[in-house]
Symmetry: C2
DNA sequence: GAGTGGTCTAGACCACCAA
DNA sequence: TGGTGGTCTAGACCACTCG
């Protein structure tokens, strides 16, 4: 047989769930019952059930049994970085400015730092087909002793910039998408009208303890931005 | 011990990966080597490795070994439905109109149907704190014989509407977010200015074969919409 | 106390890969 | 050919749940 036994079993049970024969939060037969039904060892049944647990179709409760999950219909997976949100081909980023500044109230709040701490500002302009498309600004708390290397500031995405400060596995990123009219500064930079709306994609980078280690916004003229995602089976 | 052996092993290996001791695409010691090192059975090692495979830290190649994955830094999970994207509390949707229409060229293309087929149109107005916030329009191919039940048209989210036509597990949804100036129709409906931009959240529902079974847009005044997501460890 | 899932073992056979 | 991961078995002990 090409298809392993445990996969046949998990396919079978998955079908029963998707076709409604096992409804949400109802118990499945026990592992021992299933191993008799399918004439396989208990470990094989466990392997099959484990597949479905990983696929979020089932959850198990020790001492009770396995239950079908009510599926979430509102989960989407988006893949994007600073350059990906811009429409068009031949996208590139150009470093505009790097500076070390005293934080204002907003920065003190967002990065949760003391007012006497300094903050590194990295500004990029993003181009699509040689045309200006977006403006990106990032703030990172400045730690004396950790030099700002050229490698960091030339990168455009946050994980790359922060990579040599902490492990990429240890960070968490929160992202929000909204829309607004540009400030005078933004409209001047992007060479657009003050009543031309801009996409604002805001990112906050948190370390393992949930403390902010980066904050930034991408401003993009409304016609230059498109964001796409796909549904996934949820938690 | 409270912590099972396999979890200690997977924690150990995960730490080695996140701290860079095992770099991307490098092979791990074999299962047999690990079972000697940790003094456990091969099945326990496999359990530990399986955890990390499910967490996307590792992948395995039959006949070769286990390898650390290069992590993706650009994956985000978004949770939202038609009501969730609107800012504010006390959100509700009100059915505005249901109709069966002849499809125009756009609909024929988007739903991939023949021009003589009919299409069900469902229009909703969405309110936040009793104030009009968004306009939602959905198109579903009309199948004679399948009645449009009241249950369907009163729901606001696509999965709910389509639920009794097909299993929710069998559908896939593609979503795109963009921004534009409203048409006259949209600006009139939302009672906004024609030069006030709107968020457009477009959804396409596909069945298992990838054929469209639903298409819709949500139009939301730019100040009423906020979309948030969190990073996830990618594929 | 009987049944449940959670963990762990020791062994077996297979297909695949590389030298 | 020897090592790798992939599958599967039969049995064991545990903690948990529920009547």
């Amino acid at each position: 047989m090409a298809i392993p036994v445990y996969q046949k079993i998990s396919d079978d049970i998955r079908t029963q769930i998707t076709h409604g024969f096992i409804s949400a939060n109802n118990a499945l037969p026990s592992e021992n019952t299933l191993s008799s039904q399918y004439n396989v060892s208990r470990m094989t049944v466990r392997k099959a059930l484990n597949v479905l647990v990983n696929e979020k179709y089932l959850y198990s409760v020790p001492g009770k049994g396995y239950f079908a999950k009510k599926i979430a219909t509102d989960k989407y997976l988006f893949t994007f970085d600073e350059l990906e949100v811009i429409k068009g081909k031949n996208k590139e980023s150009r470093l505009m400015e790097v500076d070390i500044i005293k934080p204002n109230a907003e920065l003190i709040y967002q990065l949760n730092i003391s007012p006497d701490k300094r903050v590194v500002v990295i500004k990029h302009l993003l181009y699509s087909n040689k045309k200006l498309a977006a403006y990106d600004i990032k703030y990172i708390p400045y730690f004396t002793g950790i030099p700002i290397v050229e490698k960091e500031i030339n990168y455009i995405t946050f994980p790359e910039i922060i990579a040599n400060r902490t492990s990429m596995f240890d960070i968490h990123r929160k992202i929000s998408i909204r829309m607004d009219m540009p400030s005078n500064e933004i409209s001047t930079l992007l060479k657009i009208n003050t009543h031309d709306p801009v996409f604002i994609i805001e990112q906050k980078i948190l370390d393992q303890e949930g403390s902010p280690i980066g904050w930034g916004q991408l401003y993009c003229h409304y016609q230059n931005c498109l964001i796409e995602g796909d549904s996934v089976i949820g938690e």
